[in-house]
């Protein structure tokens, strides 16, 4: 057999990046075109006065300019709340997941409780959190975001730690390894793709949690309040600008997680794209 095939000279990670760049352009081109056409149609359909409930894209865009200061402050505040909630919820979820994966008793006690608690309509808890932490305290919004993030992180990370090939554990046993070595050489690497999947879900949930909690009261310079107050004063363009800003925050966070995933576990994307069949 010849020593190195055609793949032999290229690092697999780089290969995946290079391939994915061209593929990404091809993949997202149709969606981009449809979005552009949609925006044009929207703009034309909402042209003229009196269309305030659904303002034209150009009107919303100009609202970004007119209320730049307010939107910047509100966006930053909400972003910090969402980010804080994401970090809190993820940290807690990972901690509980490690405990459940490590100790059978913890698993037997915590997993049913976690599953049952996921049935709670968490958004209804927001006023209670406002009450607990103080309605003006950003912690009350972070707690809401953290609650939403916690569950998917905890379940996914637990699965990643526990769902290891039985033969992989036999292999490690044949090396007479310690539990720590099994944890760091097998379970944690196995868990990382699960973790990033959960974190991607978590970014969106964190923004939903933070904004919903803002609806139930608090400081005025946050996206949730901006949306509500501009709507009640009839400034639908500013309300829409606030909503879009929230979406942009969630998308940016998602992309940041996706980039981190590519950097930390490059083998995973390469494997999914099927480097060789």
């Amino acid at each position: 057999m010849s020593a190195a095939g055609s793949l032999g000279n290229v690092a697999p990670g780089r290969l995946a990046w290079g391939r994915s760049l061209g593929a990404a352009v091809r993949q997202y081109l149709p969606a981009t075109v449809v979005l552009m056409v949609g925006l044009v149609v929207w703009e034309l359909a909402t042209a003229g006065p009196g269309r305030r409930v659904l303002p034209a894209p150009s009107v919303i865009a100009s609202a970004f300019g007119e209320e730049a200061d307010l939107l910047r402050r509100a966006g930053t505040a909400t972003f910090i709340e969402a980010l804080g909630g994401l970090i809190l919820g993820t940290g807690l979820g990972v901690l509980v997941a490690f405990a459940t994966a490590r100790w059978v008793t913890a698993r037997e006690v915590l997993v049913p409780i976690a599953i049952a608690s996921s049935a709670i309509p968490l958004i209804a808890v927001a006023p209670i959190l406002n009450n607990w932490f103080g309605v003006l305290n950003p912690m009350s919004k972070m707690a809401m975001a953290a609650l939403l993030v916690f569950f998917p992180v905890m379940i996914n990370v637990t699965r990643g730690l526990v769902e290891v090939q039985p033969a992989a554990l036999e292999l490690m046993r044949s090396y007479a390894t310690s539990d720590w070595q099994v944890l760091f050489k097998v379970r944690v690497p196995n868990m990382l793709p699960f973790f990033f999947t959960a974190l991607k879900i978590g970014t969106t949930l964190a923004f939903i949690g933070a904004i919903v909690a803002e609806y139930f009261g608090g400081t005025s310079d946050v996206l949730g309040r901006v949306v509500i107050t501009s709507m009640s004063s009839g400034s639908f363009d500013v309300a829409w600008a606030g909503i879009l800003l929230g979406a942009a925050g969630a998308i940016l966070s998602y992309l940041a997680v996706a980039v981190a995933e590519r950097l930390i576990i490059p083998w995973y994307a390469a494997m999914l794209s099927g480097g060789r069949t």
Partner: protein, 283 residues
């Protein structure tokens, strides 16, 4: 190569590599009752032997391999590996294991997979890198070190698994149907490769298989087992000359031995249609 490993003292060399005495394994069955997976197994394997365990599904051959590797504890009997209790031998990393699936870690490159046991056993970096290169050359995958497992074919993945099992130069190699999932062509090529590795390294090999031709081609002895309860029904010496090659597979003696093993298996399995079907898949 084997002389590099200080753990293999001359005392160990003198005795059998593996000796089993009165080994039984009983599994409880859900809803009461029990399955006798292994019944009163006695077997001694000398160093540098190549012994195949063959038998129908459920005869306990994989269980027996795991008992030798101290991955399963026997219900009774004694298991000695390199003159030590099996548990001690595992703690001393006296054997390497190859499973039916390659069990490669997809987050590690081929090199890093082969390096895993060396990391776990605390070899220093210089030693590790040299050994990894040596092992990849041994299984003729020298140019694939930086590939990820998913970029390799099934046969290549299994060769990586063999390189990994041999990386810490164990005196004993346990192989559990390592080529069972591969096509016939690949299997025959890897059989020849394993024999080459065996003769070059002097490793004792215990090889579980469903395939009669494979068992005969590879082994110095074939241990025939039967199911329910799992026990040894025959041990057949394979006196084919070494080194073995494609001519071996076409020799009259080879066919005689294949027939002998087949009849030995049939002696126990012909009675039940289910078992006859199981045997139909062999070879």
């Amino acid at each position: 190569m084997t002389t590099e490993k200080p753990a293999r003292s001359t005392v160990d060399e003198a005795g059998p590599a593996v000796s089993l005495d009165g080994v039984s394994k009983i599994f409880p069955v859900r809803g009461g009752g029990e399955t006798v997976a292994l019944q009163d197994i006695g077997l001694a394997i000398a160093p540098t032997e190549f012994v195949s365990l063959i038998g129908p599904s459920g005869c306990g051959k994989s269980t027996l391999l795991r008992v030798i590797g101290d991955l399963i504890e026997p219900s009774s009997g004694t298991v000695m590996v390199n003159g030590k209790p099996a548990q001690r031998a595992r703690a001393d990393r006296d054997y390497g294991m190859v499973f039916q699936a390659p069990v490669l870690f997809e987050w590690r490159t081929v090199e890093a997979n082969v390096r895993l046991p060396l990391e776990v056993m605390g070899l220093d970096r210089g030693q590790r890198d040299g050994r990894v290169r040596e092992m990849l050359d041994l299984v003729e995958l020298g140019g694939f070190g930086s590939h990820y497992p998913h970029q390799l074919s099934g046969g290549m993945q299994q060769r990586v698994a063999i390189a990994r099992a041999l990386a810490f130069q164990p005196a004993l190699l346990l192989m559990d149907e390592p080529f069972g999932a591969l096509d016939e062509m690949t299997r025959e090529r890897l059989n020849t490769e394993v024999l080459g590795i065996w003769s070059r390294t002097g490793t004792t090999i215990i090889f579980v298989t469903h395939s009669i031709p494979e068992a005969v081609f590879l082994s110095t002895r074939v241990v025939v087992m039967s199911a329910r309860p799992g026990r040894i029904t025959n041990v057949i010496d394979i006196d084919l000359p070494q080194p073995r090659n494609e001519q071996t597979r076409e020799s009259d003696r080879y066919f005689e031995l294949v027939t002998e093993v087949r009849e030995s298996l049939r002696g126990r399995v012909a009675a039940s249609p289910a078992r006859a079907r199981a045997e139909g898949g062999i070879g």
